[in-house]
Amino acid sequence: MASETHEAAGQMAEHGAEAAGMPQLDFATFPNQIFWLLVTLVVIYLVLSRVVLPRVGSVLSERQGTITNDLAAAEELKQQAVEAEKAYNKALADARAEAQKIAAEAKAEIQAELDIAISKADAEIAAKSAEAEAAIAEIRKGSVESVKKVAADTAKEIVATMGIKADAKSVAAAVAARMKG
């Protein structure tokens, strides 16, 4: 039975798609479909034009504005960064020059101090060596005197031992003559 009805439907479809074959051509449903379609379209149109399109449009333009602003801000920041780098480089160069200047000054100062200290030390050394020389000369002089005296005393003793009376003056003269030789 089912195949019979099916056959009938198939034949109907073959014979130019009547209502049973093609529901699309069932004109009885047209008013219904058209009515609900129009209702749907009106609802969608109202939703879109009242809510969605203004909202999405404003969101998109707002985003565009934000992006433009951000780009401008980024450009400005980049400019600032470049300026800051320039300032930094300048400061660095200044600092380097200053440091060189300070180093040179310090060097000169130290050199001056060093020179003063050296000359002072030289003077001190010269004084000390002069003093020492004087001391040495004195010692030498003292030693010569004492040798003269010892020699005179010794010679007098020797002469006395030999039994000869000699006066001190002639002994001293003889010693002095010998020492010169």
Partner: protein, 249 residues
């Protein structure tokens, strides 16, 4: 088809899915009766509200996923109208957006198994196409008066050819709503009917694997068709609108 059906002993009802029936029983379909058409159109409206209204609720500068999709749809149609029909056509952007969103949602809802495709019905697509045709024609006459008829008078052609061309242009102008509507309904209907046929073949054990592969392939193609047909309908609307705004060749 029926010969095959008899030889296989199968029941083919590829068109049964398109039947319009009352939602709450009964046989008679008045113009106001809530039918499956009503149901699936209402679902389309709900889906549209879900994506475009709820999805954009936060108005975020950095959009969420749904808001991105809503913005994508907006940008897609907006740039289409602007590119095809020009800047002055943006006044009519809400109407074109309505058409596109309705068709694309109906097509994709129709892809749900056991659902009902409202756009597979000529009654629906013919109304859509006629709305475009009538409003575009009226707009053309409203904006340009009698000069709108210059659309049919190809002034760049030799004088002798112009009457012949005018006849052809007029015929092609009046064929527009026909092709506009049949293209959409035909594509949707054919895709769904073929899936149904494959599904019936899947009942036979021998060719079931092949039929299932066929269903998957057809479904993939129908997904493409669902979008492409909405796109084609919308872009043709833009082209017709452009003719109304700038009728001279």
């Amino acid at each position: 088809m029926s010969a095959e059906a008899q030889s296989e002993g199968m029941q083919f009802h590829p068109m049964k899915q398109f039947t319009v029936e009352p939602l709450f029983g009964g046989d008679t379909i008045h113009w106001y009766t809530p039918t499956n058409v009503t149901l699936w159109m209402a679902l389309a409206v709900l889906a549209i509200i879900g994506l475009l209204v709820l999805g954009t609720r936060k108005r975020a500068i950095v959009p969420s996923r749904t808001q991105s999709v809503a913005e994508l749809a907006y940008g897609f149609v907006h740039s289409m109208v602007e590119d095809v029909a020009g800047k002055e056509a943006l006044k009519y952007f809400p109407y074109i957006m309505t058409l596109f969103i309705f068709i694309v949602f109906s097509n994709f809802l129709g892809l749900i198994p056991m659902s009902f495709s409202t756009t597979s019905h000529i009654a629906v697509t013919v109304v859509l196409a006629l709305l475009v045709f009538v409003s575009v024609t009226l707009l053309g006459f409203y904006l340009h008066g009698i000069k709108f008829l210059g659309l049919f008078w190809v002034s760049s052609a030799p004088l002798a050819l112009r009457p012949v061309l005018a006849v052809i242009e007029i015929i092609s102008y009046f064929v527009r709503p026909v092709s506009h509507s049949i293209r959409l309904a035909g594509n949707v209907m054919a895709g769904h009917a073929v899936i149904e046929v494959f599904a019936t073949f899947a009942g036979a054990i021998l060719i079931a694997p092949l039929a299932m592969v066929g269903i998957v392939a057809m479904f993939g193609m129908d997904v493409l068709v669902a979008f492409i047909q909405a796109y084609v309908f919308t872009i043709l609307t833009c082209v017709y609108l452009k003719d109304a705004l700038h009728p001279s060749h």
